[in-house]
């Protein structure tokens, strides 16, 4: 029988893996999402089509199906990634679509009159983007992006389905060993809340700070 501190230590390690999964995949999703947004609001039709199709496909596929396809399917094509890398890539590809939607909504939420005004005083496209659109778009997208990150932390639990030692899988293993389901899963829940609740509070503070009267 292991001692209590050793279980606590395993949960802390699980939290580390969960943080790693969600941070890395969210960073990847953000970069991809920005690229998709640029394609979606840009003037080139083929890229617009590509971005729209990408978002649509991701919206129609369950995350777990995508993960299993990645883990079991790609080796058939000669690609092989570690379980953690696969989880990060799949979570990243998946969330990129949602980030793109959020960013696009943010860009479109800037009142057109402001852009017209900026253009009419002679700003170029990049100047408009840098001085008018992006500063305002950032304010509107911060809350939904924070929301997405909290969701990402919870979504990263599907990595447990392929045996990555995040919080969920740690709980599953400890339960196998001890058969103490209630305390084990309650600890896992607390572990998730330790990550999501402070983040939610921080996001609310940030939101208040960045709020602008329109």
């Amino acid at each position: 029988m292991e001692s209590l501190p050793s279980f606590a230590w395993r949960f802390i390690q699980g939290m580390g893996v969960t943080i790693e999964l969600s941070l890395l995949s969210f960073a990847m999703a953000f970069v991809l999402g920005v690229a998709l947004t640029v394609m979606a609001v840009g003037p080139l039709a083929p890229l617009r089509w590509f971005a729209a199709t990408y978002v649509e496909i991701m919206r129609m596929t369950p995350l777990l199906a995508l993960l299993l396809l990645f883990v079991f399917g790609l080796p058939k094509l000669g690609f092989m990634y570690s379980l953690i890398a696969s989880s990060v890539l799949v979570l990243g590809f998946y969330t990129a679509a949602w980030i793109a939607e959020v960013l696009r909504a943010g860009v479109n939420a800037v009142p057109p009159g402001q852009i017209e005004a900026a253009r009419s005083i002679g700003m170029t496209f990049t100047q408009v983007l840098a001085n008018v659109v992006i500063p305002q778009a950032v304010r509107t997208v911060i809350p939904p992006l924070g929301n997405l990150f909290v969701i990402q932390i919870k979504a990263s639990s599907i990595a447990a389905a392929i045996g990555v030692f995040d919080i969920t899988y740690t709980a599953q293993r400890i339960n196998f060993e001890t058969a103490q389901a209630v305390p084990t899963f309650a600890s896992a829940m607390v572990a998730y809340m330790l990550l999501t609740v402070p983040l939610g509070m921080f996001m609310r503070r940030l939101e208040q700070k960045m709020a602008v009267a329109r």
């Binding site: 609001v41 003037p43 080139l44 039709a45 083929p46 890229l47 617009r48 089509w49 590509f50 496909i57 919206r59 129609m60 596929t61 369950p62 995350l63 777990l64 199906a65 299993l68 396809l69 079991f72 399917g73 058939k76 094509l77 000669g78 998946y94 969330t95 949602w98 980030i99 939607e101 909504a105 479109n108 057109p112 852009i115 017209e116 253009r119 496209f125 408009v128 983007l129 659109v133 939904p144 929301n147 997405l148 969701i151 919870k154 979504a155 639990s157 599907i158 447990a160 389905a161 919080i167 969920t168 599953q172 339960n175 389901a181 899963f185 896992a188 829940m189 998730y192 809340m193 999501t196």
Partner: protein
């Protein structure tokens, strides 16, 4: 769907020519990417007829179709449970009694904080220990209903809050009791306004049934694994067929949702009501996401 941006002005002849060049180049890039994937699939022989042959057998098709039916069954039961749970929770959060408010709020916050997968695993272990000997479907539905009930409650709450306050005040001024105002004035309008967001919740529920894979509940995703362990060479093909299964259902739901939105925006315009309510519910539906989720906006 896309608003015409004013980010750049209507192109003149030279800019149009330039855009045409870049359009062709970017089209080539996209086609090139797809071709690279296609070549990779071809060179590993994924298009070979014998790898697809298994799906032409009546037995396989029926096996997978039954899996789809199991998925839909789980989704329907979970959605029913979630929606039944969501309404009292949402009303509870808006209740005048502090105790009820706190209780409903605690439930929603708790179940929103827990990943669905963790909840499912817990149910599988704990429900039999408590003497509930359910089939796999039961575990999945209980966990999904509890989880999505909390998420949908937030959608319902946002829908109620997004209704102009004057509606309720007018009802109260006419002498209705608060519950009458809620039942006859607020809810009918709020439910109508949040219909698109509720369809999004339904979509999230359908996709989340794939987590039944871990129980294991014998649904579509699990059956694709069965097929690919029976015929390992057809693994990618099985995954493709199953993804199409989810895709068709999701596409149908998205189509219905867009149809509802279009219809509603038409009636809203003609009756001159504030169109803002859609935006409000659509935005909050961001909360209502699958575990894999993200806003199905």
């Amino acid at each position: 769907m896309m608003r015409t941006t004013t980010l750049y002005e209507a192109a003149g002849p030279r800019a149009r020519a330039r855009q045409r060049v870049f359009s062709v180049l970017s089209a080539l890039a996209v086609v090139g990417l797809l071709a690279a994937i296609g070549v990779r699939l071809e060179s590993t022989g994924q298009f070979d007829a014998e790898k697809w042959a298994i799906f032409w057998h009546w037995g396989t098709a029926k096996f997978l179709f039954d899996g789809l039916l199991a998925t839909l069954e789980a989704a329907a039961c979970s959605a029913l449970g979630a929606f039944v749970l969501a309404l009292p929770l949402a009303l509870g959060r808006l209740s005048a009694h502090r105790g009820i408010r706190t209780l409903a709020g605690a439930y929603v916050e708790l179940f929103r904080a827990v990943p669905l997968l963790l909840l499912i695993l817990f149910m599988v272990i704990e429900l039999p220990a408590l003497g509930f000997d359910l089939p796999a479907l039961g575990f999945l539905v209980v966990a999904m209903a509890l989880h999505h009930g909390a998420l949908t409650a937030e959608v319902v709450r946002a829908g109620i809050l997004s209704l102009p306050r004057g509606q309720r005040e007018a009802a109260l001024a006419l002498g209705m009791r608060p519950w009458q105002a809620m039942l006859h004035v607020v809810l009918p309008q709020a439910l109508r306004n949040m219909l698109p967001a509720l369809i999004s919740s339904l979509l999230a529920i359908v996709q989340d049934t794939s987590l039944g894979y871990v129980i294991p509940y014998d649904e579509l995703l699990h059956r694709s694994q069965d097929v690919s362990s029976y015929a390992p060479e057809s693994l990618l093909q099985a995954a493709f067929v199953v993804t199409m299964g989810y895709g068709v259902v999701s596409a149908l739901l998205l189509y219905v949702k867009r149809w509802v939105v279009r219809r509603q925006s038409r009636t809203v315009r003609s009756s001159g009501r504030a169109p803002d309510v859609h935006a409000a519910t659509a935005e909050t539906s961001g909360e209502c996401v699958s575990l894999g989720g993200a806003p199905k906006a």
